[in-house]
Symmetry: C2
Subunit: 315 residues, 2 copies
């Protein structure tokens, strides 16, 4: 009998639906004791202690359905070695993340962030020179997956020009043009906004560092909604202090939660948020069909129907 351990809660109606649709499956909502973890065949969600205990012993784990788009926090090499499949929820976070990115840009360009600060100071003075419009801007988005595409499409509705950057420069929906990672100098020279929407891999770790920031000539806005370790935080602070960047917003940081000792808390021209851009309003409704669809096929032939992660590439 297939055992599925639900580390992420479902709505009670969803759980009832699973039990009715898959009578041959045992759905566990309480984590079993360590010695019984070896009998789990499927994990839904992630908890480090549970997964570590499973992988450390001889086990029957065959598939993990994650509830995030990025899967960098999984031990990908171990999963590959033990022939465990991994699927993600790539795509469902695209709309909320894109809304967050556009929200950052509009709240910065239209003076909304400053307005909130000045309201507390009873300061009503108008400073028109601080204001700009998104519509006139050129965006450069690193990563042309579903998140990058949704950012591009929404930004485009405002009248921006959007360039996407990916490995080969292959075309992607929503972008005015796409260029290769090795060939973006011309696009960078026109960029008003740089967005990191790359997955975290060895190639993208520490990618936005001093070498990158020192190329900048247009004093762009920088936004990270990918993963914290893609940005070298001390180098970002220097770029903000030296004016290579005019403003930055980091929804993700190198260490999360951000430690109280981090100098980022006090950095000027920087907005921090606690890794929330991808929070989906109706999350359980968005994830359930992916789990259900993959489980159906997994029970039939041991393969996955959608969103399987390439364990070598890491996305």
């Amino acid at each position: 009998m297939t055992q599925v351990l639900l580390l992420q809660t479902l709505k009670s109606a969803q759980l009832a639906q699973l039990k009715s649709q898959f009578p041959q499956v045992t759905f566990l909502t309480e984590t079993p004791v360590k010695t019984e973890l070896k009998n789990i065949n499927v994990l839904f969600g992630y908890r480090k202690t549970v997964l570590d205990q499973i992988l450390a012993q001889s086990n029957h784990l065959q598939w993990i359905q994650s509830i995030s788009a990025g899967v960098d926090y999984f031990p990908l090499a171990s999963l590959k070695q033990q022939h465990i499949l991994l699927s993600n929820t790539s795509g469902i976070h695209a709309q909320p993340i894109a809304e967050w990115v556009i929200g950052i840009l509009l709240s910065y360009y239209r003076g909304i962030l400053n307005a909130q600060v000045r309201q507390a100071q009873q300061d009503w003075q108008r400073r028109p020179d601080e204001l700009a419009e998104l519509g006139n801007r050129h965006l450069l988005i690193f990563g042309t997956g579903q998140i990058g595409q949704r950012i591009a499409t929404l930004a485009h509705a405002f009248g921006t020009t959007v360039t996407g950057i990916n490995h080969t420069g292959h075309a992607a929906p929503g972008f005015d043009q796409t260029v290769a990672m090795t060939n973006y100098a011309a696009a960078l020279a026109q960029a008003d906004v740089i967005v990191n929407a790359l997955p975290l891999t060895t190639a993208t770790t520490n990618y936005f560092n001093q070498t990158f920031f020192q190329q900048l000539t247009t004093q762009p806005v920088f936004i990270n909604i990918g993963r914290g370790p893609s940005v070298n935080e001390p180098d970002l602070q220097i770029a903000l202090d030296q004016g290579q960047l005019q403003f930055a917003a980091l929804d993700v940081q190198q260490t999360e939660p951000l430690p109280a000792t981090s100098p980022l808390w006090h950095q000027a021209h920087l907005l921090l948020s606690p890794h929330v851009s991808g929070i989906v309003e109706h999350f359980k409704d968005a994830v359930y069909p992916i789990l259900s669809n993959n489980l159906t096929q997994f029970l039939k032939d041991g393969t996955l129907a959608e969103r399987q992660v390439d364990l070598d590439k890491g996305y």
Copy 2:
């Protein structure tokens, strides 16, 4: 010889272009003494003391080109009585105002305003229940002119449903549906967001008052980018305190600059800004073609080519 008094500065290249294109016109950039104001035929821009002095004496003023969309601050009855034409810049503010409105909604729904406050407190805690997505919302926009249309079009790109309200319920571009001012109860019962984009007239003064707010059942967000006197501020404060509204943003207020004594400064769930939503990034470039086009026709036959205000309606 036609005399044009420029109360609003132009770029030097624009002024040179006007002088070259209209050699029969004298362009004054310094305000003449009171006794010579009577010879002015055209005003570009507004200054209360200047206009009052002109209207108070026998004068030759024939046309005023304003630099705003709303013209409520002009003495419309006097202009009509003295047969003075008035044109506005309706339309050029649509993009920046729409960006401001979408920026308010995204910065509220995606937790950006809270993130800025909590950053100052070194608070990294995630509060997913506070977050929502614009894409799922229903917007109700009072006013279906160019500003309302641009808000509707941009909001629509996010996946919202947008209802417009105008006098007769006539259709307007960008809206999913439009209903008449007398017939919006059904739309109001579904509204997540209410935006005031109405011009200020006797009919819209004090429109958003206790009677209006007490109809609300959905705890919407309220945004005013029209004119301050359309909103009864004490009644708005009660609606926020009693939870008829969950949040409000006022770019315009009853009295501007907002007095230090105003209780609005300390109102919870309210964002204030200093009447900046309509500030156009390349303002002189946007206004110049309107002035030039209207001046060409005015010199030919004394009429205006575009954006003439109906002095009875006030817009």
